[in-house]
Amino acid sequence: MASITLTVNGSARTIDVRDPEKPLLYAIRNDLGLKGAKYGCGLGQCGSCTILVDGEPVRSCTVPVSAFAGKKITTIEGLGSPEKPHKVQAAFIAEQAAQCGYCTNGMVMTGAALLEKNPKPTAAQVKDALAQNLCRCGTHERIVAAVVKAGGARG
């Protein structure tokens, strides 16, 4: 069985991988116990499983874990905590931007990645960045407001 070392939220983690095709999502949720990233479709269509790889949002459900050796992975748990939330997370809390919250991981991670590139996005830019992220509950308006607020631009 091959073992692969990943850098997750700043620490090196080694996991055994029997099937090199196993998507990263299953490794971070089950082998590393980081359950913030969610299984939504396994098809790269919804964004629930989004993590950051070297700062870029990646859908962890479709990419094999073997592709991440040596890469820096950040999960939502690494972004911030309830006690010390990242500014995007803090804005989601302030805007009460979740209903069921199943999509929230993808929204927060994609929003955080957007702010890295574009620190003060407008509402239109946020909608554009989240165009491929799905929310079934209809929380969209609050999600846009939260990301805009985190950046500090006027919506």
Binding site: P82, Q99, H140
Partner: protein, 732 residues
Amino acid sequence: MNMHTSRRNFLKSTGALFIAIPFASHVKAQGRIAAKTVDPAQVDAYLALNADGTATIYSGKVDLGTGLRAAFPQIAAEELGLPINKIKLIEGDTLLTPDQGSTSGSNGIPKGGMQLRQAAATARQALIKLASEKLGKPASELDAINGEVRPKAGGAGVSFANLITDKGFELKLDAKAPVRDPKTHQIVGKHVPRPDIPAKATGRFVYMHDLEVPGMLHGRTIRPDVIGAELVSVDESSIASIPGAKVVRLKNFLGVVAPDEWDAVRAAKMLKAEWKGGGLPTDSTGLRDYVKAQKISSTEALDKAGDFAAAYASAPKKLSGEFYWPAQSHASMGPSCAIADVKEGEATIWCSSQGTHRYAKHFATMLDLPANRLRVHYLDGAGCYGMNGHEDAAADAAFMSKAVGKPVRVQWSREDEHALDPKGPAQVITQEAALSADGKIVAWHTTMRCPKPTANLPTIPLLAPVEVDAKQVKGIATGSLSSGGKPPYDVPNLLVEVHWLEDTPLRPSHLRAPGKIGNCLAVETFMDELALAAGKDPVEFRLAYMSDPRGREAVERVAKLFNWDKRVEPRRNGKGRGIGYTQYKGDETYVAIAMEVDVSADGRIRVTRVAATHDCGQIISPDGVRSQVEGCILQTIGRTLFEEVKFDRNHVTSRDWASYPILTFPDLPEMKIELIDRPNEPPRGAGEAATAPVAAALANAVFDATGIRLRTVPFTAARMKSAMAESGVKFG
């Protein structure tokens, strides 16, 4: 302190997601809980005052992402006289909470919340009585404030903990116990942040999907390519290369289990099996005709006034139209997931069911267990908006756990969820109405065709028990599809009928606002057609037939909020405005919605602006209501524009987000919402009402933009484009 922080702290301290929850027999050893009643007639079923000054409330209704987790503590804190942060909430656990019915039909607050309020009011009355003896003061001079009973005029009080023992109240719920005057409310009606959001925004919240129980295996079910097919043979050797993977075959039920989740996924894909037979009586393109051709098992007149037939026959101006609402999916963001631990003589199930109590009985029946030997725990799933696959996944897990003697977690795939979740059934609605020579509505006839729900069916039949051939009650459930066919207007000669059909091709269940969005589309589109025929502005025309002041206020205020400009003839320039109004279920929440759309030359419809007024009586959690109204509007815009379950004669073919598109961020309109709070009216539901007029307002706006009446949902670009070509509409 609440459930979430305690879970979070637990996770922090153990660094793991294992949660061991004891079964009934172990709970007994913990003293206090042993005596815990779940009898809905008893105060102690709903709440317990703890020695540390906190209170625990027990709710048989559950938070489905709707904010009840904030609202229930608000109600209890207000009524008891406790700070809200002293309230802990336990939801859905069938061992600890009273059976308050399932969390559906927008009844969380109106039923569940009001039972809780009455329990708390009864408790307060009892506390005041006890304190009156202790303090030697008449009860009328005392009140429960901040965790103690004290004289209203000031002076020393006595804490709740000093008034009540471990035994609880041992009191029946008193329907007459006075509740606090809304004028004095300090917590109800105020914004209270939802306790679950910090954990949800930081990835710490433990959803059903995230739970692990010690020793569990991962299970996946394999269902035939043709609905209803029988399992002929299974080649177990086809998964021999996957260590620890095992086949579970029980008659026509087929599953695999494996210690590793990805191995279970692979095994389910690799497993070779042969099936035969099965099939559907129609495909989705033929569904409308199928519904219309189906034998009518009975016709029921739901509402009648005057003499429709006579008035219609003699009227000078007549209109008619037929509307179609397709089968739709709950399409939850997270495919259903559940864990079951079935042992000899007892079972525990962890599930996101809206109706843990109901389904506990159902699960016990199918597993041949006494009802009191099966416990269901509730954990949040992805939003379900009705009954999706949560309970099916639980049944899948239960049969596999029983077969392998270990706890089994079943996670449905995206394809499973889209294909297998019970569907909101298709509806065909026809309208006939007539105007007098001076443009007054004189006759109206609504006819609805929909599958007849089986009378008193307690639960929806699940897939696995059918496949296993286990015991379960048969029938179909749909929610009340025939509600909302009655126009909310004063019409002298009215007939509202439903043609009940035996069945519908795909297994139905209730999907948010069952039937009411389609029915409101038919009624409210038609009201617009009548306005045009009468040469009147749609808002003015509606108001002329409305006598309920709350309904009138909703419509008048939405017109103002939206900046409605009067029109009679459609603009036909690609931009249009429409209105829709309903009183949900005929006597509940009032909602009026105005909408603006852009229709482009290629037929694409974009909703650009929405205004809504919403009167659900007394508001408990304003932000909770607002978030539900937003969700209702956005989700239903998607359902109206894009959503239709596609199937061929074998199976559902719209099995992912590409083939079953929903609303996305670029589709987001500008929204203005006005909540009308009526503290002295009973609270009504907010989870569904605002969905109902959405399709109607949208269709009416499209008519204004194009002069075309869309009567078939979804209003896809292709459908709009061909309608435009047919009627020669061009603009730009």
